[in-house]
Amino acid sequence: MGQRRRASAVNNSSSQRVSGAPAEVARVPSRKHNICMVSDFFYPNMGGVESHIYQLSQCLIEKGHKVVIATHAYGRRKGVRYLTNGLKVYYLPLQVMYNQSTATTCFHSLPLLRCVFVRERITVVHAHSSFSAMAHDALFHAKTMGLNTVFTDHSLFGFADVSSVLTNKLLTVSLCDTNHIVCVSYTSKENTVLRATLNPEIVSVIPNAVDPTDFTPDPSQRQDGRITIVVISRLVYRKGIDLLGGIIPELCLKHPDLHFLIGGEGPKRIVLEEVREKYQLHDRVRLLGALEHKDVRGVLVQGHIFLNTSLTEAFCMAILEGACCGLQVVSTRVGGIPEVLPEDLITLCEPTVRSLCAGLETVIARQRSGSVPSPASIHARVQNLYTWRNVAERTEKVYDRVSGEEVLPLDRRLRRLRAHCGPVAGSIFAFVAVLNFLFLLLLQWLAPDRNMDMAVDATGLQRLWRQEPNSKVSPMKRAAEREISS
């Protein structure tokens, strides 16, 4: 009923496991999948997770897969919309609770998500971000419906306080029967494996990437006679804005030609404003407020140094973007940041004010003496380090592997929940899983699958979306968003 077996795909996967150089010739061409990306965070919200999902989807569409995105409604943006290249986005009207994350009840999203999965004939559900309740819901429902699941984690978590303990437990429950997990750095993999007590073999590391055509250097935008430090991040506690508030007065006192350019918005903005007022630094510290994604590059190229003061980070795309624009990068040594850039492109410091000041001093001295590499050379090096097409290729391999695996039927799933997640949580969620299954049966009786019209494909094998003639232009540059409003 709700379960599907992938017996036919076992042959496919076994042939891939034996792949090596000689077997590449005889390899069965990988099948095209129907993928549904689910997350709370997507356009028009801008951020790391959002651009990751968008870029990955565009590259997968290029490879011929069918990709559909499900997220929650943003304000008046509800219903079905199409983005570049026929990427279909479902903005589902689910209530947003806090910080763009929907309320999680494990049930209220089942009818709509089931509709999406059935009418688009989805084979793989790929959920993003552990902060997103909708992603966890989607994983839960996909398993009840017998679809393969993949989860990508974008952040690091602590272990010690009460909220972390609860969150980690929920993550364990959510991931215990997921087919595959992807993390963005090795540090993140360790963190996730420990938090959710996962089998490390089903966790892969696929780092993020940056679009090099969007972030090109432009030294002519820099102002001579001064050294500008650029900070672009959300102004929240975990991005270390308090540290920044301590650095600014010290350094500005020592170096009269130092300027700060700070972009982003958040509750900690008041700290920076008070520092600015207390030390009369209005002309040297500029607070730009929330920046549109298209304006980020314009701000970055105005600086010489990019500063990142996060207290915890799984994989920092911001420093990649900064380096891609040819800036010198100074950052705290936390989380997965040491894995991102090679040693000579980044200066790492401890997350204290003194250490960051020392690090910045060395970089400023180098900048003054002129012994820094040119922005163009930095850009050339970074451009080859990470590309989205590489990410898409690796993710495709994950899908191929996953589509060969079986989805646990209900009895095995319940046993696994109870065995793996501990007595209390396991039993509660086993109960919830049973209720979910019964709710699914009820829905299948009230609104059977045969009453749903199959969607007309815009991407994938039977694509109907017309190809634009100038398809060499990168997907992000294309501003064509076909809005068919609903």
């Binding site: 079905v80 709509l112 999406v116 009453n451 019209d453 969607a455 068919i484």
Partner: protein
């Protein structure tokens, strides 16, 4: 030319589509939903009366029974006059416009006529309706002074909600006429 095939709506109930070709550039499409089912009426009436009788049994007040009868009658009248749609029709007259009308079970008809200069296109669109995602046919309107901007959307066949196969048929037929004029 009259054609009558069996289609269903999004909930699985059967509806019928009737295409009449009045002329080369004038066509009328009528979608008829199922009639008021006697079973449902009996169930509702019996339910209300049983409830009223139980209340009467405890309170010994005959006004309750009168109330129940009145409620049933008024409810039924309101339902067939304002809620229950018998059939909806779309009349496409090339170079004049499009007329959309719904006819209720009591015989009342509401009609809207949209002039050709205001019509931009007729398209099939997807939307989220309650707990489902459905296809629906709609007319895109434009302001004659701004021909590139869609000023509003008028959905068609809102009460009968036919499925994609029926919509595609109507859509193809309409596009033939709209492209000629």
């Amino acid at each position: 030319m009259m054609e009558d095939e069996a289609f269903t709506d999004i909930n699985g109930k059967s509806i019928s589509l009737d295409c009449q070709n009045h002329s080369g550039f004038c066509r009328e499409f009528t979608v008829s939903s199922s009639k008021v089912s006697i079973g449902k009426v009996m169930v509702y009436t019996s339910g209300v009366w049983l409830l009223a009788y139980t209340v009467f049994f405890f309170t010994e007040n005959t006004a309750v029974l009168t109330c129940a009868i009145l409620v049933t009658l008024v409810g039924m009248m309101l339902h067939i006059h304002f809620v229950k749609v018998d059939h909806e029709s779309l009349l496409v007259i090339g170079s004049l416009g499009i007329q959309v009308s719904s006819s209720y079970a009591s015989g009342r008809e509401t009609t809207t006529f949209i002039e050709q200069s205001k019509i931009k296109d007729i398209v099939i669109n997807e939307a989220i309706y309650m707990h489902q995602i459905i296809y629906y046919l709609c007319v895109l309107l434009k302001d004659p002074s701004e021909p590139d901007v869609v000023s509003s959307v008028v959905p068609l066949f809102q009460s009968s909600k036919p499925r994609l196969n029926c919509l595609v048929k109507v859509y193809k037929s309409c596009q033939e006429i709209l492209s000629k004029c």
